[in-house]
C-alpha cells in the first residue's frame, strides 16, 4: 500500500533564491545562536580559525556546543565522534522523511541538497511536501540562508567574545548548558520521553561517578535510547524529529 506522493520538480536557481529569502527572516535567530557559539568557543580556547572552521564544516549547532564541553588541550576523539553522531542522528530521520520526494530527483541533487539539511529548512520543506507542493529549492536555498547566518553569527561572537574579560560574571559560561537544555525541552514531550531523560540522567551520573572519564555521554544516550527501543511511540504519532535552532 502506498499513499500518493506529489511530484517533486528538479532544482532551479530561481527556486533556490526563493527558498533563501523565505528562510532568511527566521535565520536571524540563528545569528544569535551563532553568536553564542562563537563566544563560547573563544572562552573554551579554540583558535579563531578552528572556531570558524567548525561552523563551516559541521554546521550543526547543538553538536558544536557539545564538542566545546569535551574540548581541552587534549580531546577524547571516540567519545567526541560518538556524541556528534548521537546528537545528529536526527538527521537520519529527517532525510528518511523526505525520501519519497527526494528519490524523484537525480542523485546529485538528492545528496547535494542534504549537505545543507538542518532543522528549520527540513521542517518547512516537509510541510510543503505533505501539502502537495514539494519544493527542493526551499531545502537548498533555506539551508544556505541558515548556513550564511550561522557563519555570520559565529564571526560576531568570536569578535565580541574577545572583548569580555570575565564571562562567568555575566553568566555567559552558561550559554552552552542553557542552549542544550532548551533544545531538550523544545522537543516533543511525553511520559515516554520524560522516562528516557530520567534514565539518561541517572545512567550518565553513574557513569560519570564510576566509569572512566567521558563515557557518561555515550552511556546516557544509549540508556535513554533503550527506553525508546522498548517503549515505542504509537503508530499514529507524526514522524521524526525535534525542532532545533
Amino acid at each position: 500500500m502506498s499513499t500518493a506522493v506529489s511530484v517533486m520538480p528538479g532544482l532551479t536557481l530561481a527556486g533556490i533564491g526563493q527558498g533563501f529569502w523565505r528562510l532568511l527572516p527566521l535565520s536571524m535567530f540563528v545569528v544569535v545562536f551563532g553568536l553564542a557559539y562563537g563566544l563560547a568557543a573563544v572562552q573554551t580556547g579554540l583558535t579563531p580559525l578552528q572556531t570558524v572552521f567548525m561552523s563551516f564544516a559541521v554546521f550543526a549547532g547543538t553538536a558544536q556546543f557539545a564538542a566545546l564541553e569535551l574540548w581541552g588541550g587534549q580531546i577524547p576523539v571516540i567519545p567526541l565522534l560518538v556524541t556528534t553522531f548521537a546528537i545528529n542522528a536526527r538527521h537520519l530521520l529527517m532525510g528518511a522523511s523526505l525520501y519519497p520526494w527526494l528519490k524523484q530527483v537525480p542523485a546529485t541533487q538528492r545528496f547535494g541538497s542534504m549537505l545543507v539539511l538542518s532543522d528549520a529548512n527540513w521542517a518547512m520543506t516537509l510541510n510543503d511536501c505533505q501539502r502537495g507542493k514539494p519544493n527542493l529549492g526551499l531545502l537548498v536555498g533555506g539551508g544556505m540562508a541558515l548556513w550564511v547566518t550561522w557563519m555570520g553569527g559565529t564571526l560576531l561572537g568570536m569578535t565580541f567574545g574577545n572583548l569580555i574579560a570575565n564571562p562567568a560574571r555575566f553568566g555567559l559560561d552558561m550559554v552552552m548548558g542553557c542552549f542544550m537544555l532548551s533544545m531538550v525541552f523544545g522537543g516533543r514531550k511525553s511520559l515516554r520521553m520524560v522516562l528516557a531523560w530520567c534514565v539518561a540522567a541517572l545512567t550518565a551520573w553513574l557513569a560519570y561517578r564510576y566509569l572512566p572519564e567521558n563515557t557518561h555521554v555515550v552511556v546516557g544516550a544509549i540508556g535513554g535510547g533503550l527506553v525508546g527501543l522498548f517503549w515505542m511511540e504509537k503508530p499514529a504519532e507524526p514522524k521524526a524529529g525535534r525542532a532545533d535552532k
Partner: protein
C-alpha cells in the same frame, strides 16, 4: 586522546564534520536500501534528547549554585513559553544575578 592545537584541532573538526555528513546522507542512503522501521525511529528520537541530558549531568552536579539555578530557570521558561531564546536569556540572567547577589 588527541591534541587540539592548530592543525590537530582542525583534523578533529574534520572528523566531526565527516560524522555529521554521514548523518545527513545516511537517512536517504538507508531508505534506498531498507525503510527505517518504527523501532529504530523510536530509539533515535529517545536518544536525541538523552544525549543532551547526559552532557548536562556534570554541569548540574559539579557546577556552582548559580549554574544549577540557571538550568532550572531555562527549563521553567522553556516549559512556560516554549521558545528557546527567552529561556536561554533567563538562564544567563539568573546565573549573572545569582553571582552578583550571593
Amino acid at each position: 586522546m588527541m591534541a587540539t592545537d592548530g592543525l590537530n584541532g582542525l583534523l578533529v573538526i574534520c572528523l566531526m564534520g565527516a560524522v555529521t555528513l554521514l548523518t545527513r546522507f545516511g537517512g536517504v542512503l538507508v531508505m534506498s536500501v531498507v525503510p527505517i522501521n518504527q523501532r529504530v525511529e523510536s530509539f533515535i528520537n529517545a536518544m536525541s534528547g538523552s544525549v543532551l541530558i547526559a552532557i548536562l549531568v556534570p554541569v548540574a552536579v559539579e557546577g556552582d549554585m548559580a549554574a544549577r539555578m540557571a538550568l532550572l530557570a531555562t527549563a521553567a521558561v522553556m516549559l512556560a513559553v516554549r521558545r528557546p531564546m527567552p529561556a536561554i536569556a533567563a538562564g544567563i540572567s539568573v546565573a549573572a544575578g545569582w553571582r552578583y547577589l550571593m
